[in-house]
Amino acid sequence: MTSALAALGRPVLAALAAVGRVVLFALEALSHLLRPPFYGREFLAAVMQIGWFSLPVVAMTAIFTGGALALQIYAGGNRFGAEAVVPQIVAIGMARELGPVLGGLMVAARVASSIAAEIGTMKVTEQIDALVTLSTNPMKYLTVPRLLAATLTVPVLVAAGDSIGVMGGWLVGITRLDFNSATYLKNTVDFLEAWDIGSGLVKGAVFGFIVALMGCYHGMNSARGAQGVGAATKAAVVSASVLILAANYLLTEVFFSA
């Protein structure tokens, strides 16, 4: 009985300890946000890497998702004569849920992995130690610019993804479902409220923070060798993806529960 409890307790304690380490890491990073020195070049490089270069993959995801969503809503709505709601549901679905979540997941796959691999490689090749000996705080130089860039650029990616997703729905609506173009767009605009879009952008900021945090945390704690970097990369993507989905539920509960 005691050994069974111990077997159960050990992974729980390990999980709690891991959560504690991530929280301490995040707090340390946040504490550096407002304290100089600030590394502007590293921040701009991270904006390009996380934001600009993620745009194609987010756009592709959004356009196909918007199109598929329009087809599904049309097919489902057809059962009870509600085909006309396609523009409204595509818009609300993209802005509130699919835009931020799929955008966040795509950025997690692309960015969390690259951050973890880059920082992990820097760690195993002693580049992090070299930073310290060159009087540069690795947390300030590597983590803070990436956290800030991801938190600021993922909402922009989400906004772009929302627009492209709605366009995907519109394209399918007018070419495959016989919707009138102007009516489709008018219904979309009339139905959407500011908070539908705003809540998605807030989610995007939170997801961006999660992505960069997981990439940096696992990279900084990478074990030695190629296997260690590989494991850190995998852990960064998996943990970022799961945390994004969990955070999405919590935020939806906070924003939209009656």
């Binding site: 590394y39 002693e126 070299a130 000996t133 540069t136």
Partner: protein
Amino acid sequence: MIELSGVHKAFGANRVLQGVDLTIPRGESMVIIGGSGTGKSVLLKCILGLVTPDSGKITLDGQDVTTTDRDAFLARFGMLFQGGALFDSLKVWENVAFRLLRGALKRPREEAREIAVEKLRRVGLKPETADLFPGELSGGMQKRVGLARAIAAEPEIIFFDEPTTGLDPIMSGVINDLIHEIVTEMGATAMTITHDMTSVRAIATRVAMLHGGVVRWTGPVAEMDATPDPYVQQFIHGRAEGPIPSVR
């Protein structure tokens, strides 16, 4: 002067340092020798604060390194890492001038670049190398760039971690000569970790041998060959038989 007294460090059950006592006088070139896994790099990282000792005291000019101002302390050091540890995403000159482009020693970019090119020239690299990325360089050139970075801010103390590992004998000789010249002309205090005996004879003024987590022998390099210490004799002559087990 750097002084270590009773420095202990363990990683789990592996007790790497078990009471290291060592003094590195100002202006001396101390070389630490010892087999692989004897804690030479850990010792060096303890001094720099990259690894925290479990117990013991490390002082620099009488000041405890754990209580001194960190930035001011590190500004006195330069370090050449075993693998170079050059930043892949930065050009060679940006690597060399890293310290001069940010922080307390920040200079205008053009001035920092000029200093970097001059330091590259000092280690035998042409100005054209400055705009390459580290991935475009050979192992020997990377070591030279690492050396240029270590001396860029004119530090008082320079650490060299296995400076000739992975290099052919000729390039090793070039690096050894460069280290000797630079340390001498800068009047710097140097600490080198190596198990390359050619490096020891080329670089050292004093030698310390680390074995079993403690300093087994220390003395001037000129006395190293004559010491009766069986551990030192086995190590410097590379014998399989002796008190140091050959299978570790």
